[in-house]
């Protein structure tokens, strides 16, 4: 198990290296430069040159890359051109929002998806199976931003049950020590805020979680269909074990192996790319932040932010691999 983990970690290095080069090259290939973005109309060649010099953009590329890598290793991504705050602090402020949203979405996807997938498989070809399969196909056919729009329209605008934008009611005066609003509300024992924050999480969570839900349902169903025909399930039945025990300990436990992988992958995807949902709900997470930075050509943010998200994605994938190793004794032991 240890060897397995170390090997996977080592494989990470060339990928991260390649990524950093890719991101760096990309940022420097972007048409227009930060100077243009900053100065806008007042951009004269002299001024542009001055800005470029200020940001060290007139040095040879290789030197720039090395200085960039040097800073990265020290977790210094520079300063945002637009907000003048350090990129690291911007990430620190916004990533928790993305994490919370991702967790909400995945909880929704897993909480509904696994039981639904399980029962669809057990009641193969019944109405529950057909409905959930048709539903999941529909789920992956709706663009996230359209679903977000529909949810907002129905539940926030028309019915008024839930808020339409943001993470929290802006009129509330609360502190956020950790940046995780749910956690903060719990820590300060503020029930009112907790309820408010949770209400804000519902619609975006459902919107973002619908595609993972559809995928989890399908994978669970496929896995259970495979497993329920295995010989060891027949053995479990022949032992006279009760149905819930057979379902849980023999069928589900084995079916969860591929499902866990998919869940991990989906989480990684959400963490690094919830852009569209964040925009529709004005969520203030990493995705929307980066998207804005692209338009502003805020290159320190881009260099640091995209690299950060890519690293998160890679690390989550690695964790998924390791977790699979832990879950499956055939890999874990000997």
């Amino acid at each position: 198990m240890l060897k397995f983990s170390v090997r996977r970690l080592l494989q990470l290095v060339p990928i991260l290296l390649g990524l950093s080069i890719l991101v760096f090259a990309w940022v420097h290939a972007l048409p227009g430069g930060p100077a243009q973005a900053l100065l806008g109309e007042r951009a004269t060649p002299a001024r542009v040159e001055a800005v470029r010099h200020d940001y060290g953009l007139d040095r040879p590329i290789a030197v720039q890359y090395l200085s960039y890598m040097n800073k990265v290793v020290h977790f210094d991504f520079g300063q945002s051109i637009t907000t003048q705050r350090s990129v690291t602090s911007e990430i620190r402020r916004r990533f928790p929002a993305t994490i919370e949203l991702t967790l909400a979405a995945m909880l929704f996807a897993i909480g509904v998806g696994i039981p639904l997938g399980f029962w669809s498989a057990r009641r193969y070809l019944s109405w529950i199976d057909n409905t959930s399969m048709a539903g999941s196909l529909l789920g992956i056919s709706i663009p996230v931003f359209f679903l977000a729009f529909i949810l907002k329209y129905v539940f926030a605008v028309k019915l008024g049950w839930l808020p339409s934008v943001g993470r929290i009611d802006v009129t509330r005066d609360v502190r956020h020590p950790t940046g995780f609003y749910v956690l903060d509300a719990i820590l300060t024992l503020d029930v009112g805020t907790l309820v408010d924050v949770l209400k804000h999480l519902v619609l975006p969570g459902i919107a973002l979680g619908t595609i993972p839900l559809a995928i989890v349902t399908r994978i669970t169903r496929a896995a259970v269909l495979e497993v329920e025909n295995e010989d060891y399930v027949r053995t479990a039945e022949a032992k006279g074990l009760t149905a819930p025990v057979v379902n849980r300990r023999h069928i589900l436990k084995n079916a969860m192996l591929p499902v866990a992988t998919v869940i991990g992958l989906q989480t990684g995807l959400l963490l690094s790319g919830a852009v569209l949902t964040e925009i529709v709900f004005a969520w203030g997470g990493m995705g929307s932040f980066l998207e804005q930075a692209i338009f502003d050509r805020d290159f320190p943010v881009l260099q640091g932010g995209i690299l950060f998200l890519a690293i998160v994605f890679v690390v989550v994938n690695l964790l998924v691999d390791l977790a699979y190793g832990l879950l499956d004794p055939r890999i874990r032991v000997r």
Binding site: L19, P31, L137, F146, I306
Partner: protein, 304 residues
């Protein structure tokens, strides 16, 4: 031709009793019995027909608008003259939706064709040659896959500027590693199968084995992935347009853009966002239904 080659050729004929023709006919027959596949095929057909015949079907020009009909807070909804009403610039919504199909189809098909071709080529090369070629190519693919899809597409589109072409290239690029991985995996598993072993033991040359045996048999998962990737391409294209990365021309009736522009009419005229959204859903659903039915028909285990 040596005796071994002759025997190998004979064996080739025997090994593929009803390969290309027969097998696909069987698959189509299985799909024909699946009601969802029929619905999906119908939707796809509708989508393609609309895209191709938009100029003929559309009652008005999609880019010409009559601003006099628009007043603050009021946009005419569906009526006898305009079945889906007008949009915020006085243009006929129905015509814009119909023309939008062209852009979606164009982007979807072109980007997929490029991405899949390049991907298949890379994957086939890696699978066929193995060794350091395989290693290098797959390492490159891994790096590309390390960046989550949408982010990658956004990055590429931003690099190339706001145009339809950059959206197509962005989606194509995102698809390359997916198809490369898929084809390589498929080839690898075929390589180990008995019929390949049989052919090799008879002395059939490696190149021949690859092109005549392995490649055709590796195509099935690729085709399934193709239909599903087309669906994803349309959604991603809409997503990119939503973010403002599509064509810079404000008149272009691209569905994703239409959704983005009408967000602010949520309260007053929600139907303006609903129509393009529904159009996307229906087209994508069609491809997903077909792709899913195809997958079930090709999988010997998933018998109904």
């Amino acid at each position: 031709m040596s005796l071994a080659e002759a025997q190998a050729a004979e064996l080739t004929l025997e090994l593929e009793p009803d390969e290309a023709g027969g097998r696909w006919r069987q698959v189509l027959r299985r799909m024909a019995r699946n009601p969802l596949a029929i619905v999906g095929a119908g939707l796809v057909l509708l989508f393609v027909l609309v895209a191709l015949l938009a100029p003929v079907l559309a009652p008005y020009k999609p880019t010409v608008g009559d601003l006099s009909r628009i007043r603050p807070g009021y946009i005419p909804g569906p009526s006898a003259h305009h079945w889906l009403g007008l949009d915020q610039l006085g243009r006929d919504e129905l015509s814009r939706i119909l023309y939008g199909a062209r852009y979606s189809l164009l982007i979807g098909v072109v980007s997929l064709a490029i991405g899949a071709s390049v991907g298949i080529f890379v994957g086939a090369t890696a699978g066929a040659f193995g060794g350091w070629v395989d290693n290098l190519l797959m390492r490159l693919m891994d790096i590309m896959l390390a960046i989550p899809g949408l982010l990658f597409a956004i990055a590429v589109a931003a690099l190339l500027g706001r145009s339809l072409r950059s959206v197509m290239i962005a989606i194509a690029v995102v698809n390359v590693p997916i198809f490369a991985r898929l084809l390589r995996a498929s080839m690898l598993s075929q390589r180990e199968s008995d019929y390949v072993l049989a052919a090799r033991s008879l002395g059939v040359r490696r190149g021949r084995i690859v092109t005549q045996h392995i490649l055709p048999n590796s195509m099935a998962p690729v085709i399934v992935q193709g239909t599903l990737a087309l669906a994803t391409a349309i959604i991603d294209a809409a997503g990119l347009a939503f973010l403002g990365l599509g064509s810079a021309d404000p008149a272009v009736p691209e569905w994703g853009r239409m959704l983005a522009e009408t967000q602010r009419f949520l309260q007053s005229s929600p139907q303006l966002a609903f129509f393009p959204g529904a159009a996307i859903v229906l087209s994508v659903l069609g491809f997903n239904l077909v792709g899913d039915a195809l997958r079930e028909a090709l999988d010997p285990k998933l018998r109904r």
